[in-house]
């Protein structure tokens, strides 16, 4: 139920926005020591797999966090197969395939072990499956007072019948990933949440159209997500249920459109991690470990003939 909070309420209260005020400020924040961050999301796409190890920074830092060198990173599956990750740049640990191999096998459980200094951090994840994307279509939504004519994209895929699959849906427009917090799209089976029972059907409409970026131009009008000449690539990455909860928590903490949606916002809270220090009294660790299959499909918006007529 995430999307409605930001979109619907902000529009509905546009008449009252005249009275309210949302501005940047510079509060002083408490100091804190950096904490180790292990960013390990692995999948069975062609090519190398990377694990990133960094540290947390003060909140108002403006550069990306520096990498942590000298860690030993190992991933193994329940059959004993070991994947070694070697440091290629500070903080970046890479596994390179041999020949045609890809990382992982759907259904197996994987263990992560990262040794930094004298401490070891571990995690586990079971590799889930990702459904094939059947097609991507484009359709027209006519513009109005606040928006141009919109050409939107929609992907079509069906969740497998057995329940309890979870996915992270990523979109790349012209090879650039859509990375805004509001563009973190998660699905549980074909719907939004576990309790909702949407297994075995086509992904629901709000998910199918979640692959559209909405940016404003200089006049404040909403631009069309795609124009003729753009290309789109949609990737469905399988995630564990813990990964689904993690990404939802990240979105709740980072997607802050401001304005009236703040009336419905939850307070700041730390997101959970599924990585732990083998020594429970040792240093804290942040981040997440996930293994999942991926499937993807791309399409180029060649001309207006590509539009699906409804």
């Amino acid at each position: 139920m995430y999307r409605f909070n930001s979109v619907v309420f902000v529009i509905l209260f546009s008449t009252l926005l005249f009275y309210s005020c949302d501005e940047v400020i510079n509060p002083e924040l408490e100091e804190a020591s950096p904490v180790l961050v292990i960013d390990a999301w692995l999948n069975n796409a062609q090519g190398t797999q990377q694990i990133f190890i960094t540290r947390s920074q003060p909140y108002f830092e403006s550069v990306l966090p520096p990498g942590v060198s000298g860690a030993t990173v190992l991933v193994s599956d329940e059959n004993g197969k070991i994947y070694t990750f070697s440091e290629s740049k500070p903080g970046v640990y890479v596994w390179s395939p041999v020949g045609n191999e890809v990382f992982g096998e759907v259904g197996l459980k994987y263990d992560l072990s990262v040794q930094v200094g004298t401490e070891t951090f571990v995690s586990e994840a079971r590799m889930g499956r990702a459904p094939v994307i059947d097609s991507i279509t484009f359709f027209l939504v006519e513009g109005g007072q606040f928006a141009d004519d919109q050409y939107q994209a929609e992907f079509w895929a069906t969740d497998p019948i057995e329940p309890n699959d979870a996915y992270w849906i990523k979109t790349f427009k012209n090879s650039q990933q859509l990375l805004k917090p509001s563009e973190i799209v998660t699905a549980y089976d074909a719907g939004f949440s576990k309790g909702a029972n949407f297994s075995g059907i086509t992904f629901i409409a709000p998910l199918r159209t979640s692959i559209n970026p909405f940016d404003e131009d200089d006049d404040g009008n909403i631009k069309s997500p795609y124009v003729v000449g753009d290309s789109i690539y949609v990737q469905i990455q399988a995630i564990t249920e813990a990964g689904f909860n993690f990404l939802n928590e990240v979105r709740i903490q980072t997607d802050r459109p401001g304005g009236f949606s703040e009336l419905f916002a939850t307070p700041l809270a730390n997101v959970a991690t599924n990585i732990s220090n083998v020594n429970s009294n040792g240093s804290k660790v942040l981040g997440f470990f996930n293994v999942g299959a991926v499937s993807g499909l791309g399409r180029k918006f060649n001309s207006l003939d590509d539009l699906t007529k409804n």
């Binding site: 947390s56 920074q57 903490q253």
Partner: protein, 793 residues
């Protein structure tokens, strides 16, 4: 001969009995102009230094030795009446009081009698007369019941946009709000900017911050008892107003040739109607409005029986187009029967129906949409009795039975034409109570009030109950087993004894000390994990996983009147409230349409304590009051804030309210409000980290509410111009009207509602540095002028 002696003996035997027998004088006290019962009017016997006050139906009863008495009946704003009474048998004496002529030094009322602060047994209560409510400058020129009580000590909110109000550090869902005895689940329209109470229909409001009588229960922080007018039983009367946001009209008049009366009052907002030609969004069936309609009728069957029927319906609509948007509303219907069994036993029987619903719709057509509806239906039966044992004891006893049916989600999602039902099962509960109490005068200076309430709560089937696993505190719990119940089978039960006690000792004619102790139990919980309470908050009943909330409150206060004509009233009150089974949430709690909601809830204990100062000037051209509260409210929950005490979201250390009223001339009057409240607590991050190109904030201490926002302060001013009272030809005008010109937030302060942390709105490419910023949101960041025109004929 024998017969004559027998008769003489019988006659003589009566004489001593006549000298020692007590008789009761009882009846109703009403406003002579319109027949409205006066609540809290005083009937005073000077020679005995004793008296009585009328109850919420305007009824009093006084038992005295037979004899001749001079009685004085008084009520603030009315001429005091003196009568002589020969009491030789049980006497029914109904009284009508005449309203005082409007004088230049009109008294502004907080108490119903000059001395009530000092002399009345009650403490921790504030009664607001409707005339006062209409004078307090409000938002957008509209007088409002809830905005007015926020000017009292001990009452606050977290800011504009928050529904509800907080009393003595209690949360919004811990206030029992009654409209003519029907429970109101959401007292706000338009996210707290206006309340659901139409001032044209309200007669009296009383806020109990503590020392709640045994007759009431079900919430642990406060009781707001709102009583509607009965309607003018002598003449037809129309009241109304046209304002910047909404307009209102009320019609009242006699029924059955004066044996009854009715009142119907309605309001509707029209921002959407005005904006429609200009805003596309509102043209395809969009709606942005709220309305409410209140109606009441009563009939005196005879001098001992009176029937009231009242109802309320109100709704807020926010529709983007005809298929998408959300709406919420309250509907209540009440039927009450006042019965005077005899001069000492007064009873009221109420049958009440209440329904609160909210729904959300999303999706442009029938192929793809999402619909969710949630509601609470509640049937209540309340018999309550007052037995005026003698002039020193008033015993009250009665019962209450509530049946609840909760529909947490009646919902479906349709995708490509395929509909999936995601409804949650209904829950059924019974909440009932028995109470008995006595209000006793031990001497002319000392009174005590003691009582006990026994409350019982049960859940029953059909339904399923879940048992959750134990995890690290602060993490989501998942269900490990479930139990299915058939229709009528009891699932879980709770019971509590709730003793209530209060005490008053008059030190002298102008000062007194009061103390009280209350235990309250609450079986329904308002679940809200957002910054402010809003209409999508969920009410959930106690169950095997969620225990009832309990509170113990102690309060002590000193009350003093001083100055010429006792024009100043001063009080200082200290309170301490300990609460158990307070509900908080795991980080990332999922509260909407979640069958396993209870796995996301955490419980802990709370404590709230404070000191409230109050000074009021009641007489003169300039009147007003200053209220200052120094308070703290904290929670301690395993899994939050490192298991240490942390400030609650509505903990505001200093809370200063100043209200002033000044009569400039015969027709012009001015009033002003100043509010200064310490900043509310908020959680700030210390650090940030990056996972998969996502920038995530982090608090290294795992703190909750570790920082305070800047203070909130605001000045509102309004001017009122009363219409002329005589026409050009010199004749008196039958109708009256007045204009209100108001300014809200005079010096345009941008009071912060929240400070939030975000990465900024610009799109960031993969691998590029990500900027993090802090932003402050003010809901009202500027000055808002408004004008309204109000009439009565």
């Amino acid at each position: 001969m024998f017969i004559r002696s027998l008769i003489l003996f019988v006659c003589l035997a009566q004489i001593p009995a006549l000298g020692q027998t007590k008789f009761t004088v009882s009846g109703y006290v009403k406003d002579a102009a319109n027949g409205e019962a006066l609540i809290g009017a005083t009937i005073y016997i000077k020679s005995l230094l004793t008296g009585a006050t009328t109850n919420v139906y305007g009824f009093y009863s006084l038992t005295l030795q037979s004899g001749n008495y001079d009685i004085e009946i008084s009520y603030i704003g009315f001429n005091t009446q003196q009568r002589s009474l020969v009491l030789s048998e049980n006497t029914r004496l109904d009284i009508e009081l005449q309203s005082e002529e409007k004088q230049l030094d009109e008294v502004v009322v907080i108490s119903t009698k000059d001395q009530e602060g000092v002399k009345a047994l009650e403490m921790s209560t504030n009664r607001l007369d409707i005339k006062t409510i209409l004078k307090i400058p409000a938002f957008l020129g509209e007088a409002d019941v809830i905005k007015s009580i926020q000017q009292l000590p001990g009452v606050s909110t977290v800011g504009e946009g928050a529904s509800g109000f907080n009393v003595r550090g209690g949360s919004v869902g811990q206030n029992l709000i009654l409209l003519d005895e029907a429970t109101v689940y959401n007292s706000s329209h338009l996210l707290g900017f206006f309340s659901v109470f139409n001032p044209d229909a309200v007669k009296d409001t009383k806020l109990y911050k503590g020392a709640i009588p045994a007759q009431f229960g079900g919430r642990i922080a406060s009781l707001l008892d709102v009583r509607m007018k009965e309607g003018n039983n002598k003449n037809y009367e129309v009241n109304g107003g046209i304002g910047t946001i909404f307009s209102r009209a009320a019609v009242e008049g006699p029924l059955f040739k004066g044996d009854g009366s009715f009142i119907v009052a309605g309001r509707r907002s029209y921002a959407d109607v005005l904006a429609r030609p200009f805003v596309d969004v509102l043209q395809d069936g969009g709606a942005l409005n709220f309305y409410d309609l209140t109606g009441k009728a009563n009939y005196n069957i005879n001098s001992r029986n009176r029937i009231f029927v009242s109802g309320y319906t109100g709704r807020d609509n926010f529709f983007f187009d005809k298929n998408q948007g959300f709406t919420w509303g309250n509907n209540t219907g009440t039927i009450r029967w006042n019965k005077i069994f005899n001069d000492r036993l007064f009873a009221n029987f109420s049958g009440i129906f209440s329904r609160y619903d909210y729904s959300l719709q999303f999706g442009e057509n029938d192929l793809d949409n999402f619909k969710w509806k949630s509601s609470i239906r509640n049937f209540t039966f309340k018999p309550s009795f007052s037995y005026f044992l003698n002039s020193n004891n008033e015993i009250s006893f009665g019962a209450e039975v509530n049946y609840y049916s909760f529909e947490p989600a009646n919902a479906s999602g349709t995708s490509s034409g395929e509909k999936v039902d995601i409804s949650l099962p209904e829950k059924y509960n019974l909440e009932s109570a028995l109470y008995i109490g006595n209000s006793q005068r031990l001497s002319s200076k000392i009174s005590i009030d003691y009582g006990i309430r026994y409350s019982y709560f049960a859940g029953f089937g059909p339904g399923t109950q879940y048992i959750y696993n134990d995890t690290i505190p602060g993490r989501r719990r998942t269900p490990v087993s479930s139990e299915i119940f058939d229709q009528g089978e009891v699932t879980s039960t709770y019971q509590n004894f709730e003793p209530r006690f209060s005490f008053k000792a008059e030190l002298n004619d102008v000062s007194s000390i009061k103390a009280s102790y209350n235990r309250m139990a609450q079986y329904l919980h308002l679940i809200s994990n957002t910054t402010a309470s809003n209409p999508l908050d969920v009410w959930t009943p106690s169950s095997n996983n969620t225990k009832p909330e309990l509170s113990d409150q102690w309060a002590i206060g000193y009350f003093r009147n001083f100055g010429k004509e006792q024009m100043f009233e001063f009080s200082v009150e200290a309170y301490y409230r300990k609460t158990q089974n307070q509900i908080d949430y795991i980080d990332g709690a999922d509260l909407l349409i979640n069958e396993f909601l209870e796995g996301d809830l955490l419980t802990g204990q709370g404590r709230a304590y404070g000191l409230e100062f109050y000074l009021q000037k009641k007489v003169g051209r300039f009147t007003g009051w200053i209220a200052y509260t120094l308070a703290r409210t904290e929670l301690k929950v395993n899994g939050i804030n490192r298991n240490e005490w942390y400030a609650a979201r509505f903990d505001q250390t200093h809370n200063v309210k100043v209200s002033g009223f000044y009569d400039l001339s015969k027709r012009w009057s001015a009033s002003a409000n100043f509010t200064l409240i310490s900043g509310t607590p908020s959680t700030f991050p210390t650090s940030r980290f990056v996972v998969q190109n996502m920038l995530i904030p982090y608090n290294a201490q795992d703190s909750r509410n570790n920082v305070r926002l800047p203070a909130y302060h605001r000045l509102d001013v309004s001017f009122r111009l009363d219409g002329k009272t005589v026409k050009r030809n010199g004749k008196e005008r039958k109708n009256s009207d007045y204009w209100v010109f108001g300014v809200y937030n005079l010096y345009a302060r941008k009071n912060p509602f929240s400070i939030y942390f975000t990465q900024g709105k610009e799109r960031v490419a993969q691998g590029a540095p990500i900027n993090s910023e802090a932003r402050q949101l003010s809901i009202i960041g500027t000055v808002i002028p408004a004008v309204s025109y109000n009439f009565k004929f």
